[in-house]
Every structure is written in C-alpha cells, then in structure tokens.
C-alpha cells in the first residue's frame, strides 16, 4: 500500500511531538523541531513520490472501508496542500525558534500548539469524510485560537475570544449541515454523498449551513471582522501561519464539497453570489489595508482582500464548460499556494521591520531602506506576488483566472482582477514610499537575527519561483480531481 506509514505519520507525528513538547524540560521544547521537521518533510515527499508513481489512492484507516470506516484521500489536491503546509510551517517554526527568545513567557505553550495545529491541518487535507473534517477543523481551530491568545495582553485575549466565537459558530453551522446530510443519506463519505445526494430541501438547507459556516471560518467579506485583530495582533510567526494556512483549510473544504454537491443542488445564482462576495472582499480589504497605520494590520487586511480572489473559483467553475473550469481550478489553486507563500513571507518580513524600528507604526519606517535592505527586499518580493506582477505565482494564478473568465464570457471578473491588483499595489507601495523617504542619517535600528531574514526571504523567493515553474505543480494538483485527464 502506498504511503502505508507516511500518510498516518503526517498527523500522528505532529500529535506525538505536541504531547512530547508538553512533557520535556523547557529548554528542549523548541529543539523538537529538529526531529520533527526532517521527518515530516520526508513523509510529505514520500506521499508525493507515491502520487507521482502510482497516482491518487485512498487510505483505509483501521482497514475498514467507507462508509463504515474512515477513508483518507491521497490525491493531487491533498498532497499539494500537505507540501505547502510542510514548507510554510517549517520555515515559520524556524523563525519562531529564534523570534520567541525575546518572548520567553509565550514559548512554553507555543510549541505544543504549533504541533497540534499542524496535525489538524494535515488531518483536514487528507480527510474524505465530512464528520472527520469537522473534528479536524476543531483541532486546527482550537490550536489557532490558543496561539492568538499566547500574547496574553487584553487586546490579544479579546481578539482570541472573538476568533473563538466566530470559529465555534462556523463549526456548529457546519456540523448541523453534516448531521442533516447524514440523516438524509446515511453516509459521511464524500464519495458516497456524490452518488447518493439528490436535489431536495434537506440537501439545500444542509449545504447552505455548511457554506455559511465555512465562509465565516474563511473570513470572507462581510464575515471577516474577526480576522484583522486576530491575525494582526498575534505574535509574528503565529500571524504568518494563520493567514497563510489556517484560513485556507475551510476554503479547501468548501472547494471539495462544491465539486461534490454544489452545482447540482444550489440555485443558479449561488456561484455568482459567492463570486460577488469575493469581489467585495477584494475591494473592501484592499481599501482598508491602504488605510491602516499599523504594519501588521495592513498585512492582515491584505489577507481579507486576497481571500476574495479564491472565491472567483465558484462562478468560473460552475456550468462554464470543461476548459474554463479547468483553468479556474488551476488559477484558484495557484492563487491559494502563491498567497500562502507570499503572505507568510509578508508577515515574517513585516515582523522583521517592526523588530528593526521597534514600532508597529508604518510612519516609523522612514529611511529603513538604507539600513535594512534585506528585510525590505523580502517584503517587496512577497508584495510582487500579491500584486500579481510577473513572473510571480500571484501573476500566474491571476492570468489563469483571467483566461477562465474570458473563456466563460464572464468579463465582469476581469474588473475585479485588475482593480484588485491596483489596490494591492497601493498598499504595498504605501509601505515602500515611507521606507524610501530620507530619514535619520544614523542607523539606530536593531538588526534582526539572520535566521529571521533568511526564512522570510526563502518564502518570498518560492512565491516568485512557483510562478515560473507552475506547470508541474499544477499537473500534480489535477491528479485525482475531475480535471485530472486534461
């Protein structure tokens, strides 16, 4: 069986390391990453090798077949997300290893929460069972809330509380939908639902609840209010992980479920409506990002905006013909991965800039380009991908979406792609304008440790590189999906 050991290791190993980091002496807690990162990287690559040689497979936990047992799905989409998670989390963990030396009170519980978060995410990427997805969401969501609360300032606690309530409401709506589907069809497996589900009131109400719950968890405009304080106020490596990966998990579930059930059972306007909300997110998030005075708040609102692009998937993939749908799939996944890499890089480099000037205010960045060019360079590279300039991953993703929009005759989405890019440029250049302004002639800024700059730079570079070599990852991502043969 392909991935017999590597597939369960992807969630069992982070869980075990999370427990272990609770039990070992404090000095050893961060050092567990040197055991965990290579092993998880190896497991991820082994799963990829299995996919490339044998193709998509199903992993039967406990050797029970669905619907009695729980299946895990090891297809291109799942493997792609796992590799993205491994890369981004590893670099954020290395960053945190150095960064948290200045935050000794937060280190005790950062590491267990990080490992649990990782296990939850890998559990979600692999899940094929809609109840199992709910449990995965709870593991990931609770770990994420705990990480936001780590700072323990009144603001951080308020943000975490708000995040917790939003996440719980989203989970409960999702769970209600799952219960309805189970009651109607007697199966929790997505493959089983695809066969059994028909268009009736129960499926419609269930899907509406599931979609609403997941929209809240993905923070799609206008349900985004919990995101900026939680993502902008957390410790820097936490912000990066939450913005880059955690919100993608609920979107990922939405994407999978839509392809299973969406077009058949939802009224025709639903896909367009989701697209319109996405467009609203792009405009509102971009505008709000431009208006921020705190650097990390700007980056957090940029996430609100970038989420919007992902939701163009729904109008572009629904009833648009095979070629346009395939382009929409490719484009959305490219945007998703490029955003994960670029946003992690943007948060980490923003954290470096804040460390350097000792203030979160954008106006205090005056003259920083002269003294800390490397931190600013990572910020700029990540910005290139977010703006969608060639040759970045963000550009490739937008280009594919644009083609899909033209092919399906939905020209109005071109406006969103174009104006959204301009808005991103506006808020990225707002930071640059400040940092290139002539300021003090003496270097009074702190030098961030090299590890912090290097991890941000690697993430930003990969966000650019993936645009140049998009062909291969996109080919793998299509394996096992309905677009696989193309």
């Amino acid at each position: 069986m392909i991935g017999l050991w590597s597939v369960p290791l992807l969630f069992a190993l982070p869980l075990s390391l999370g427990i272990l980091s609770l039990l070992v002496v404090p000095k050893w807690r961060p050092r567990l990453i040197f055991l965990g990162l290579p092993l998880l990287a190896a497991a991820s690559l082994d799963v990829l090798a299995g996919l490339a040689t044998v193709g998509p497979t199903v992993y039967r936990l406990g050797d029970w077949a669905a619907p009695l047992g729980i299946n895990l799905v090891v297809d291109g989409l799942a493997v792609g997300m796992i590799l993205m998670t491994t890369l981004v989390t590893s670099l954020c963990a290395l960053y945190a290893w150095v960064y948290l030396r200045d935050h000794p009170s937060s280190t005790t519980f950062f590491w267990p929460l990080l490992w649990f978060l990782w296990a939850g995410m890998n559990g979600i990427w692999l899940a094929e069972d809609i109840f199992n997805l709910y449990v995965g969401l709870e593991v990931m969501g609770l770990a994420a809330v705990g990480m936001v609360a780590l700072r323990a300032t009144p603001q951080a606690l308020a943000a975490a509380m708000r995040y917790l309530l939003a996440a719980l409401l989203g989970s409960l709506a999702y769970l209600l939908g799952v219960a309805l589907l189970y009651g109607a069809y007697g199966t929790l497996s997505m493959a089983g639902l695809q066969e059994a589900a028909t268009n009736n009131a129960t499926t419609q109400v269930a899907l509406a609840l599931i979609i609403l719950g997941l929209l809240l968890k993905t923070a799609l405009f206008p349900l985004h209010a919990w995101l900026p304080p939680a993502h902008g106020g957390a410790l820097t490596p936490v912000s990066a992980l939450l913005s880059a990966l955690v919100i993608k998990a609920s979107f990922y579930i939405l994407m999978r479920l839509w392809l299973v059930l969406g077009p058949e059972v939802t009224p025709e306007f639903t896909a367009q409506f989701l697209g319109v909300l996405g467009a609203g997110a792009v405009f509102y998030g971009g505008w709000m990002a431009w208006r921020q005075h705190h650097l990390k708040q700007l980056v957090a609102y940029s996430t609100v905006a970038q989420i919007g692009y992902l939701f163009l998937f729904f109008p572009l993939v629904t009833n648009t013909g095979p070629e346009a749908a395939r382009l929409a799939w490719d484009g959305t996944l490219m945007m998703l991965i490029a955003h994960a890499l670029a946003k992690a890089a943007l948060f980490l480099s923003a954290g470096n800039l804040i460390l350097a000037v000792g203030s979160p205010q954008i106006s205090h960045l005056v003259g920083i380009s002269r003294f800390r060019p490397m931190s600013l360079f990572s910020f700029g590279l990540a910005g290139v991908s977010l703006m969608g300039l060639p040759p970045s991953g963000g550009f490739t993703g937008k280009w594919l979406l644009l083609h899909s929009a033209i092919l399906s005759g939905q020209w109005w989405w071109l406006i969103v792609l174009f104006l959204g890019g301009l808005l991103s440029a506006a808020y990225i250049f707002k930071v640059f304008r400040m940092s290139f302004r002539e300021g003090p002639q003496i270097d009074r800024s702190v030098t961030p440790p090299l590890t912090l700059d290097v991890t941000a730079l690697i993430l930003a570079s990969v966000a650019i590189l993936i645009g140049l070599t998009a062909h291969l990852p996109l080919h793998w991502l299509r394996m096992g999906s309905v677009f696989g043969v193309g």
Partner: protein, 233 residues
C-alpha cells in the same frame, strides 16, 4: 438595540423554519449504516455497537477528539499561566461535607470503573467513566479536599497525555504486520480497546478536572468578585 434584537429574532426564526423543513422533508437513506455495523460486529472485539464505532470503525475520529480535549487544557494552562498567581481558596472546609465525601468517593470510583467495563457490552465507556472521575475530583475540590498533587506540573501533564499517547502508540504498533493505522488484529481487538479505554478514562477525567481547576478562583471572595469580575467593556 431593538433593531438588533428583532433582526436576531428573525434570523433565528428563519434558521428554525429551514431546519424544520429540512428534517421533515428528508429522503429515506439509501445507505443502511446500522446494518453494516451489525454485520461487522463480530470482528470489532466488543459487543456494543456504539463502542465498536467509537473505538474501532471510526477510532480515528475519537483519536482526534481526544486531541481536542487535550488542546483545550493546553490552552487553559497557557491562559492560567498568564494570569497573576493567587492563593487557591475554593471550597468550604466543612466537617459534614468531608464526612459525606468519605462515603461518596469510593462509590463514585466504583461507578466509574463499572461504566468503563460496561462499555464493551452495554452503554458506557471511557467518556462516561472519565466524566464520573472528574465529577469526583470536582466534589473533592468543592469540599476543600487536598488536590495538591495536581500542582505537580510534570505529573499532571503526564496524566493528561497518557490517553492520547497510548492511543497513537497502539495505532502505530499494530501497523507492524503491514496493515493501515489503527487496524487492530482481530484476536486482540478487545484487549487493545480495553487498554485504550482505561488510559483514556484517566486522561479524560484529569482533563475535565483540570479545566475546572484552571478557572481562576476570582469569585471565591465576594469583595474580589466585585473588583475583578466586573464586566469589561
């Protein structure tokens, strides 16, 4: 304010109507899962279908749920540590209460043990037994009993982690013959499930008790409650 209440009311009403409609109008399931469970029961190692589903057929879900419980305590520990330390004063030091507790405690422990054992052939199991254990701990604490050993961080954490660690460990060890994660060999399924349930009971009990204990003891002192517990804007 009124507008918000009306909006919330309308929203709740809408959701209720939609849910009612969805439940009343639901189609008859094509898939008969209870039948499948019944036919797989002989291989499950236990006699009660709920336990079979929770600890064999869908044991992966249970494993992740235990992780959620552990996570909740980790977050509570993190938040508690961030609070300024205060002396623990909860509990009434009342001789009558203590006497009653001395009678009740053994009984509660027996009930917990029975529930755990009963899980294999009738309703019961680790979650129920663990909650009963935790209830014993909560009662002890309210009666001012000595739970000082729970302040030993290493011991407490080991106890909290025991269940999940055993679960993952067994899930991995059974893979050695080359079968997927959590595939218990038919001959030993019953024993393995019992071991998992036993450790889970202890960890679940400790988890629930810790969640209760980690609540900062503000409200003990009425004067304190007025200054500290006032709602913040």
């Amino acid at each position: 304010m009124i507008v918000r209440v009306v909006m919330a009311g309308l929203l709740s009403l809408g959701v209720t109507v939609a849910l009612g409609w969805a439940v009343l109008d639901r189609p008859a399931p094509v898939e008969n899962l209870p039948d499948r469970v019944a036919s797989a029961m002989p291989e499950s190692g236990v006699e009660h279908p709920v336990t079979a589903v929770l600890l064999n057929f869908r044991s992966y879900d249970t494993l992740l749920e235990i992780a959620v419980l552990l996570l909740a305590v980790v977050v509570a520990l993190a938040l508690r540590e961030a609070q300024p330390d205060r002396p623990e004063q909860m509990g009434l030091d009342n001789p009558l209460l203590r006497a009653v507790m001395a009678w009740l405690l053994p009984l509660i422990l027996v009930v917990a043990g029975f529930l755990l054992w009963a899980g294999s052939y009738q309703p019961g199991g680790a979650f129920q037994a663990g909650s009963v254990l935790a209830a014993a701990g909560v009662l002890l604490r309210l009666a001012g009993g000595n739970l000082g050993w729970l302040d030993n961080a290493a011991l407490l954490r080991a106890g909290l982690a025991l269940g999940l660690l055993t679960f993952i460990g067994i899930g991995m060890v059974v893979m050695l013959p080359g079968v997927p994660f959590l595939t218990y060999p038919d001959a030993h399924a019953g024993t393995l499930i019992l071991v998992i349930e036993l450790t889970l009971t202890l960890s679940i009990g400790l988890t629930l008790l810790s969640l209760f204990r980690l609540n900062p003891p503000y409200a003990d002192d009425p004067a304190d409650a007025r200054t500290q517990g006032a709602p913040k804007p």
